[in-house]
Symmetry: C2
Subunit: 325 residues, 2 copies
């Protein structure tokens, strides 16, 4: 199957690497809004102008849209779904129902298959919330994120006067994780679940106390958390904080039996060296499922909840039953 990438940042590069690992896929190329001559792809994929994509409609089986959720995907996914089978990673949780509706209308109009909100959260974590809650209805689930870099929080620090660069890590609170695993079913406040750890490069002579106070009191981003601010040099930032790791935990505890005396813990966790490369790998696996659905005559918008696991695999139904069941 022929895969194309629309949008070429870290996520698009991750998709380019991932397609190489999947023997049943070919990478048709990358579509960019920049000047194609200015874009050098990581494995040598061809680069095309985004506005010319309709010329290649017959050559692309699935288009993986690698744009941001704030402004790119709400416009791109409905527009492209009318002509292409698409996968996106739309992750603004509150806006998913509206995004679904718009993409669904476009995909039904164009008789294409579109899968939105793939990745790990939304995505694999959502799947685990669903499976675990269906199996243990008398229970409670918890999602913890980290330790990992939050791009949005890092950007918020960078906008403070006197800051040259910054990296923010979201960290789960170990004692909260342990209480959940212990089956206590605790009610946890925002502050009790995660801490925020910041590495900040300040301009020479900048008022570090003022910067630290501005970070710690920033509403929504930091004020509700225990936040630690470390000032480091630009060299240290580039040496020690260049990666984009992330991860997290979905845990459900639930009870069964006479008087609910038996406790069960289902835990799913990810520890990722590269958030964008892992997210890309999820998008690519779902591109395979989209291709299979399209070939079966399906159409419309889907989410990870609608995809039978077998459709993610390169193996046949007989092979997965024999090898993995």
């Amino acid at each position: 199957m022929n895969i194309a990438i629309y949008g070429y940042g870290n996520l698009g590069k991750g998709v380019e690497y991932s397609v190489k690992q999947n023997k049943d896929m070919e990478l048709f190329g990358v579509f960019t809004r920049r000047n194609p001559d200015s874009v050098k792809t990581v494995t040598g994929a061809k680069v095309y102008k985004a506005e010319e994509i309709l010329n290649y409609k017959e050559k692309i089986d699935v288009l993986i849209i690698c744009g941001g959720s704030a402004t790119d995907l709400p416009a791109m996914s409905p527009m492209l779904a009318e002509n292409f089978n698409i996968v996106d990673s739309f992750d603004t949780h509150a806006d998913i129902p509206l995004h679904f509706e718009r993409v669904d209308a476009a995909a039904k109009k164009g008789s294409t298959v579109a899968l939105i909100s793939a990745g790990w959260d939304p995505g694999l974590f959502s799947l685990n919330r669903l499976y675990a809650s269906a199996i243990l209805p008398d229970g409670k689930d918890y999602t913890f994120w980290g330790k990992g870099v939050s791009q949005g929080h890092s950007d918020a620090i960078r906008r403070i006067d006197g800051v040259i660069d910054a990296r923010q890590y979201t960290c789960p609170v170990d004692s909260a994780l342990e209480r959940v695993r212990g089956g206590e079913n605790p009610e946890l406040s925002t502050r009790e679940k995660h801490t925020r750890l910041c590495y900040v490069v300040a301009e020479e002579g900048a008022d570090k106390e003022r910067i630290e106070a501005e970070i710690k009191n920033m509403p929504k981003y930091f004020a509700d958390y225990d936040t630690t601010v470390n000032f480091i040099s630009l060299e240290e930032l580039e040496r020690d904080h260049k990666g984009i790791p992330h991860g997290g935990f979905v845990i459900r505890t639930g009870k069964t039996g006479d008087n609910n005396q038996n406790n069960h813990i289902i835990e799913y966790s990810l520890k990722l060296d590269s958030n964008p490369e892992f997210t890309a790998s999820v998008l690519v696996a779902y591109a395979r499922a989209v291709y299979k659905l399209k070939n079966r005559g399906d159409k419309g918008c889907k989410t990870v909840f609608d995809i039978a696991p077998a459709d993610l695999s390169v193996l046949s139904a007989e092979e997965i039953r024999a090898l993995m069941l």
Copy 2:
């Protein structure tokens, strides 16, 4: 939907408890090969004779077959799938392809939906092996079981001369788990992955040294493992080892990126106070999916790989997108 239970041991009792937790389900009753008057159900479900089940064909939406994999299910599932939508927990991994074929033929003949090999392994662990391998094709996965009671190994000890009762726990080796989580991709022998811990009640005057040697040298069951044998009193066994806990881990580590320099770890784990009650909860969730598939006009044999996650949930597609994605 109306659920019925066929076979009434620990697993059947677990299904009875689980159905009570699911508001969209009613328990029609329990079918047993014993004299119905001799069977007292844990929540008061009605008891019927197994041989009269065809009389109730129109009243049962899904039949959950709670028999053993050695001799019960290979006969029961194909026989019953011709007249009922069924779920079973067939767990003899090597025989799954044959069981699938036989149940599939019966279900297609009767236009029913049958789901085999549900539970946690096969079942949830299989799902996690599939998802993780589809997402990280350049990786390796590991399944560890325990700490938990193995009924088969406990029975094997009980057959030794001079043994009154016994309980065997399968335990994952922590250092092996840590090597896997560390991304080492180790090759692990049987002995390196699990140990076996035995609690044995011996007859008065029995030769404990001989019993211990017989256990440790038993081919297949114990000889390939580091086995610890503890002799305890019957009172201790009943006080400390009455439960049927189990659990385990599915871990996949995989690489992505330029030169595969980024490592990712996907880990799924279960810690279960009651193996049969948790397994039963999985069967009941899949009974809901079977019911939905049947109502959509589907037929034939399925496994967990074929079921879209949404079909396990009591919630609507809109609700799960809004609440869980």
